[in-house]
Point group: C2
Chain length 161, copies 2
DNA sequence: TATTGTTATACTCTATAACTATA
DNA sequence: TATAGTTATAGAGTATAACAATA
């Protein structure tokens, strides 16, 4: 509110019709942020989707692989390979679920918890850098708006236990 | 402002730490919108990146293939295949640039202009549907915020000539 | 019969290197 | 020498189908 920006969302030096579409901007912002995060995490031997899995497992919900794949919108078969890599990296453990022996219960290891924290700090920095063009109040406003927009779009099933 | 939303960006039924990251929300919003648009455009024999190319060519800037690839952040070699398809579909024409015979000048055909309009309406509908969860004032606010965030991130070179 | 995890496989997308024609 | 466009090709990512173990 304090900022006087009567000008439209048309940035310096670039004028083509897509730039005035919220959808295109949303898409672009998301992919830029993803690429930046991926680049920073790579330096830690980490990847963005590893980070997503670690973050999802932080809440002790007894998630299975397919729970995870639904939650993160990844194919179950790619989740197999993903968890393979993360288990080999020592960040995640597979235990059989005693009450349904088809499923695993995935658990963070101590090393996984450390990696999560380290990656979290890196991703924080990337996000803050990206969002620094806008005052803090607007950053919070943006987060709230996005939360509202996505409220009905989260995956239905997050089966625990 | 009229809406009383003291609640954080934590949607109904889903609580895990990623959901409170603006970066994750941005990413998710962008990819959902992209998938929705792709699905709708498919029914017209259209694709989202065709639409991007058509929209970029609407402004008569004498863009070459590499201009386009820089503008849309696509590899020059994928741009070749892309323009091949669109030329075969009759939406785009390649003409040699007389002042630099290495380059093409890409032009919309009449059919391409029609396809652009039709696709534009479809994408409008998708965006409006996605954004309908939020009042019009906030939609405009969102667009302005995203525009500010991206102002410094647009590709440097948009050679016209 | 349905579901979880798994493998093998095919398909799409993207990136790399080498070539041509122009500059 | 450098650049625009092109081709061939390799690599990553993703999706499909079939299977074993369990429910």
């Amino acid at each position: 509110m304090a900022k006087a920006t009567p000008t439209p969302a048309q940035p310096a030096g670039l004028d083509f019709p897509l730039v005035r579409r919220t959808g295109y901007l949303l898409n672009k912002a998301g992919s830029i942020l993803m690429e930046d995060a991926e680049r920073v995490l790579m330096a830690q031997g980490m990847r963005l989707r590893y980070f997503y899995v670690l973050a999802a497992l932080e809440s002790d919900l007894s998630l299975s692989q397919q729970d995870l794949s639904r939650l993160l919108h990844l194919d179950p078969t790619t989740m197999v390979a993903l968890i393979d890599e993360m288990e080999q990296g020592g960040h995640v453990e597979r235990r059989r679920n005693p009450s349904d022996r088809r499923r695993y219960i995935l658990r963070l290891t101590d090393s996984g918890r450390e990696a999560l924290e380290r990656a979290g700090r890196a991703v924080d920095a990337v996000e803050q850098d990206f969002l620094s063009a806008v005052p803090a109040q607007d950053r919070e406003r943006l987060r709230a708006l996005l939360g509202d927009l996505l409220a009905d779009r989260w995956p239905r099933v997050i089966a625990c236990e």
